[in-house]
Amino acid sequence: MWRMTFSSFDRIFIAPLRGEPMRVGATIAQVARAGAGSLPLVALISFLVGMILALQSVYQLQKLGAESLVADLVAIAITREMAPLLTAIIVSGRYGAAIAAEIGTMRVSQEVDALTVMGVDPISFLVAPRLLALIIALPCLVIFADLVGILGGLLVAMVTLGQSASAYGADSMAALELRDIFTGLIKALAFAGIIGVIGCRMGMSVSGGADEVGRATTSAVVRSIVLVIVSDLLVTAVIYVRG
């Protein structure tokens, strides 16, 4: 596992410096699958979660007469926490599972062996483009989820509190610091690495038949979701301690 991680990071970041060509075409195709493919679901979920967050905070903040803080709360919760976490979970389920199943099937049908025999390194041919695609796509998805989540909050605030869109927008902008957004993006990068490495690793670990592909896919999703949440806690704690 570590060997695969190191050698794929080597292929992505170091090999181009050595003048070895990158698989640009394959990476773009994977970015489209991981990113554009997940876009509708990410939009839907973060819009709904933005609404839910707003509803919950309206309910609580009304008791204190602090309804004007809804925008702040939603903006910060979405950018720092909900958008990266939900996006990572969605992408683990969609793309992480897909790459584990795809590479696993290629193991079963000996396609990975065929690559090796041809002298094509499966890490640079299969793993590196997928990992790089996640590293590109996930932060983009998170920024998109930030926007859509705040829109969800806006809708609730307009309907329940009668706030105007411009006031809500101004409140959100005032509440957000660049650091909130960066925190989310740092998390997105970590999650991208986790999803990519675990998905590919589980796929590569398949050695028997079709039933193992199913097992590998399930275990890719379970492991990446657990690791995403654990690392979320770690990153959040580090950022909290450092202020």
Binding site: S109, Q110, E111, D113, A114, T116, V117, M118, G119, V120
Partner: protein
């Protein structure tokens, strides 16, 4: 080893190859050598270790003991660059074809050309068409592997293995799962191939007919070692009991279950 009729260079050599898988010793010290222009058929029942041996020859499995040399390069000891270089002289056709499912046949064939040559796209396509033409699949070049029959996939896999004009060709079970006509067609193809290029071929099969049709030399494998190796005539004339049993298609004693079943069926009508 006996029976090498020509003086070609030894391209495939295995020395004392031992391989254990899951704690079971699959290969018990196998030696072999194949010269350029020669076809060695490894014949044996399922589970005798012949596919594992082929995987060792291809460098897909690392032998626990002994060594494998392709064109004089030790797959385990040589530097990575030398191994990569010698791999380009190796073509392997897998049992199920192992064609890339997301690529059309032509793209499958072009992949090694994209990776290892600087040929322009039009030339690559022409080369792919020529190789597919050799196996009679020109018409299907833009189809996906999933749209082909098993025999067509095997032929396409052979074409892909040949696309860089290798001088070593490994073929896993060319006729398994094919109807006799298609299987004979593949045998014919391998024989034709030998006419046009001096390739060192190692073919693993459990089909006797196809083995006798294409082999210069046959090695009979049983429980992880070669029982016998020689020209088809030598093998046919062998008196070794296990060889006879395999050639005469007699069931092994271990098939007690089948006998029990028959007794059960005849005694309990």
């Amino acid at each position: 080893m006996s029976g090498a009729e020509n003086d070609g260079k030894v391209l495939v050599r295995a020395e004392g190859v031992v391989k254990r898988l899951d704690g079971r010793q699959v290969l018990m010290g196998v030696d072999l050598q194949v010269r350029s222009g020669e076809t060695l058929v490894i014949l044996g029942p399922s589970g005798c270790g012949k596919s594992t041996l082929l995987r060792c020859l291809a460098g897909l499995e690392r032998p626990d003991e002994g060594r494998v040399l392709l064109a004089g390069v030790d797959l385990c000891a040589a530097p990575a660059a030398a191994v990569r270089k010698v791999r380009r002289r190796l073509g392997m056709a897998f049992q199920g074809g192992a064609l890339f499912g997301s690529l059309s046949l032509a793209e499958n064939l072009e992949l090694p050309l994209v990776e290892f040559t600087r040929l322009p796209a039009s030339t690559r396509r022409i080369l792919a068409r020529i190789k597919l033409g050799m196996v009679g699949l020109e018409e299907a070049m833009d189809k996906l592997p999933s749209q082909l029959s098993g025999g067509m996939r095997k032929r396409a896999a052979l074409a892909r293995a040949l696309v860089l004009d290798p001088d070593i060709l490994l073929f896993d079970e060319p006729s398994a799962g094919l109807d006799p006509v298609t299987a004979a067609g593949l045998d014919r193809l391998l024989l034709d191939l030998k006419e046009v290029a001096p390739v060192a071929m190692v073919v693993v099969t459990h089909e006797m007919e196809s083995a006798f049709a294409i082999a210069d030399r046959i090695a009979l494998m049983h429980e992880g070692r070669f029982l016998l190796s020689g020209t088809p005539a030598t093998v046919r004339a062998s008196k070794h009991p296990v060889v006879r049993r395999f050639l005469d298609r007699q069931p092994a004693e271990v098939l007690e279950g089948a006998r029990g079943l028959r007794r059960f069926l005849t005694e309990n009508p």
